[in-house]
């Protein structure tokens, strides 16, 4: 029963993809509008059934669907895992995925590639489900690669634009670097443990000593995969460019689900990661750097989607920071709430872009509050949530990460704290510039301003509801809650040696103080940004009005893209030019061409035999026959 259920969950989106993909252009829109979101809804409902069934029985199970590979010692089954972690991810993927599909029905209404869009989106959900449901690293890897492919397809969805194609290629290639790390990590896992199955590996790894070189290598390689997929330094530059895709894609793939795959993978391999302190230090450093670096870039961006993209990178940094100190529940909690509020932010931004006919620049927006009340209210809720205002979901999840960071080291807390202030600033800057003040777009846009249709606002409202109440699934003890999510996920993290990680060194008084300080600082930042952007109307000025060196550096994204261009792309191009000129043209081409020339010359010489004289042909023919007969006798 459960096995049928768990097989059906990923099959629905797959069939959706095949149906929509095969029907390609001929399907009527009405059918597409029902099938596209419908398959995801079916998966979501089945996942809910599975979830409640699991709540009753509560035993993590591996369901072998069929035996897939048997090569010598390598036996890999196509197997799915039901445990709290994968169930949580499945709920997020199908739940948020469904809302975004629903929203897309309105958002993509006039697009000629309507069917193709839903086909790709369905395929994405299928691969994402494989990724989170797989019970071994190989199934996870299929999903891992599959979501990368869908990401590529959807970033380059409007393929007539060369810039969008380049962005898609960039995302794909950068992910490839990470995937190589993942693949090598997988090979090393197999040579070390003789299996790729989660359960077997974790059972064998549990008694190992911390800090073994092979564990360090495995975890570092897997982490490289996570860095690529989850857009951490140094492989983050693809994510801002990925905003070339349609906005629902940014919401689903580049905010809520795919980019969190790295976090999920590390959380899944928690037993391996706690065995490698070196990796945890590396991961912590990368995460902190990413969190603050991306947040600072977001401060000066003007493209509404780019701000959200950098915000996503920064928030992913928070999750990795939590993972690096062993706060796996904190990371998964933030992943979940982030999926809610960031999807909401992106969909809200999509609604704004839709209303303005494709305008992305927040300096050309303003005053949308009264024109688009549903978008405004939901966007406000999401902004408050990401800034960490209680009792919205972001407050609880971010607070949990901050407390664990403080428990680890004060520096870590401080950096994340600064990051949180930046988050509040750039999010409220976005909010003020978009929804307050006077409208700064063209008259034409002003005339067409409208609230989005119900098919778009209803998912917004539902997501806003989730954003508002999502935090209540894991209320920490300090607020009299009992950390439901932590209890739910506890079996998954029980094997890792840190767990359960008690925050023993921090008393409740300190915790209250930390919360108070953070909250006060965030509110101060919001108030200041209100003063700055709404009262004094700064930031409505043109770009070059007030720029010093630092601001310029940040607003140019620290020239990281240019730096990569200079130190990686240029030398590679240079090398390939050299190889082309010397090896290809000078060597290989000459060999090939000389063979061609030889044939041409031989032909040129031999063609004189073709005299056109029939008698001569016959003579040659008879000569040939005689020769053959002669040889026949001879041999």
């Amino acid at each position: 029963m459960v096995k049928i259920l768990i097989t059906l969950i990923p099959l629905f989106p797959l069939f959706g993809f095949l149906f929509l993909g095969a029907g390609f252009r001929s399907l009527p829109r009405r059918i597409v509008s029902v099938t596209g979101p419908g398959t995801i809804l079916a998966s979501f409902l089945l996942t809910l059934i599975l979830f409640f069934d699991f709540q009753r029985n509560g035993i993590p199970q591996i369901h072998l669907i069929f035996n897939w590979l048997t090569v010598g010692p390598l036996v890999i089954g196509f197997e799915f895992l039901t445990d709290p972690l994968s169930l949580l991810m499945m709920l997020v993927v199908t739940g948020v995925g469904f809302l975004i599909h629903w929203y897309s029905v309105g958002y993509m209404k006039d697009d000629p590639g309507y069917n193709r869009f839903f086909a790709y989106m369905n395929l994405f959900v299928f691969f994402m489900l494989l990724l989170v449901m797989g019970a071994n690293y190989l199934i996870m890897f299929i999903g891992w690669e599959g979501v990368g492919l869908c990401s590529y397809l959807l970033i380059g969805f409007w393929f007539r634009n060369q810039d969008y194609n380049n962005a898609a290629k960039k995302a794909f290639i950068m992910n490839r670097i990470g995937d190589l790390g993942f693949l090598l990590g997988m090979f090393l896992l197999f040579t070390t443990f003789g299996s790729l199955n989660f359960r077997e590996i974790f059972e064998k790894a549990t008694p190992m000593e911390a800090g073994e070189p092979v564990m360090v290598a495995i975890t570092l390689l897997l982490f490289i995969g996570a860095v690529g997929k989850s857009a951490q330094i140094p492989l983050y530059t693809w994510l801002p460019d990925a905003m070339a895709g349609p906005t629902p894609v940014s919401a689903l793939i580049h905010a809520a689900t795919m980019v969190t795959a790295g976090v999920y993978m590390v959380a899944r391999s928690n037993i391996l990661y706690v065995l490698s302190p070196v990796t945890q230090i590396v991961m912590g450093s990368v995460a902190l750097a990413t969190a603050i670096f991306a947040a600072s870039i977001a401060l000066f961006q003007n493209d509404i989607k780019k701000i959200l993209a950098y915000s996503t990178i920064s928030q992913l940094g928070y999750m990795f920071a939590a993972l690096s100190v062993g706060a796996f529940t904190g990371a998964m909690f933030h992943l979940t709430t982030h999926a809610f509020f960031k999807a909401l932010l992106f969909l809200g931004a999509g609604s704004v872009i839709h209303a303005l006919g494709g305008e992305h620049n927040i300096r050309k927006m303003g005053g949308l509050r009264k024109k688009m009340p549903a978008t405004w209210w939901t966007f406000l809720i999401a902004t408050l949530a990401i800034s960490g205002i209680p009792p919205l979901s972001g407050f609880f999840s971010k607070d949990e990460i901050l407390i664990h960071a403080l428990d680890h080291s004060a520096w870590m807390w401080f950096i994340l704290f600064i990051g949180a202030l930046m988050t509040a600033f750039y999010m409220f800057r976005l909010l003020w510039l978009t929804f307050f003040g006077a409208f700064r777009g063209t008259d034409d846009q002003h005339h067409h301003l409208h609230e989005s249709p119900g098919v778009m606002t209803v998912p917004l409202i539902l997501l806003a509801f989730l954003t508002a109440v999502g935090g209540f699934m894991n209320i920490p003890g300090i607020f009299g809650g009992n950390s439901l999510l932590a209890q739910f996920l506890a079996p998954v993290f029980a094997g890792s040696k840190y767990h359960p990680m008690p925050v023993t060194r921090i008393s409740h008084t300190t915790e209250w103080m930390i919360i108070g300080i953070t909250l006060a600082a965030v509110i101060a930042v919001i108030a200041w940004s209100y003063h700055h952007f709404v009262k004094r109307e700064k930031g409505f000025l043109p770009d070059q009005a007030h720029r010093n060196f630092l601001v310029n550096l940040i607003s140019q994204k620290y020239y990281v893209d240019e730096l990569y261009e200079l130190i990686i792309v240029k030398p590679l191009l240079w090398l390939s030019t050299i190889l082309h000129r010397i090896i290809e043209v000078g060597f290989i081409d000459r060999i090939i061409n000389s063979f061609g020339n030889l044939v041409v010359r031989t032909g040129n010489t031999l063609r004189y035999i073709q005299t056109g004289n029939v008698g001569f042909y016959m003579f040659i023919m008879i000569l040939g026959i005689i020769l053959m007969l002669f040889l026949n006798i001879l041999i």
């Binding site: 004189y608 056109g612 008698g615 008879i622």
Partner: protein, 102 residues
């Protein structure tokens, strides 16, 4: 009555065949070439008949009839081609036919 030895047939047919071959090679008149080809065919026919008698196997003689039928058809086509060649080039000299040259 003693039969003619098979060797005589062999020698005679070889001479006939070589005559045909030489005719094909050295003659320029398409009609003569065609006749030379006939000569080659008929030398083979004769040889077949001779061997059929020699081995007491009638199959060879039956083959000869088939070959005659085929040869008749072939001559018909060959003559038709020569007629067409004559119409276009006003000559049946095969050295005129050197258009398919390099």
């Amino acid at each position: 009555m003693t039969a003619i030895p098979i060797d005589y047939y062999l020698i005679f047919c070889s001479i006939l065949f070589c005559t045909g071959v030489i005719g094909v090679l050295i003659k320029r008149n398409a009609l003569v070439i065609l006749m030379s080809i006939e000569l080659m065919i008929n030398s083979i026919n004769l040889l077949l008949a001779a061997f059929a008698a020699y081995t007491n196997d009638p199959a060879g003689q039956i083959f000869v009839f088939f070959i005659m039928v085929v040869a008749a058809a072939e001559v018909a086509i060959g003559l038709a081609i020569i007629v067409l060649i004559y119409r276009t080039t006003h000559s049946i000299d095969i050295h005129v036919l050197n258009k398919l040259k390099w």
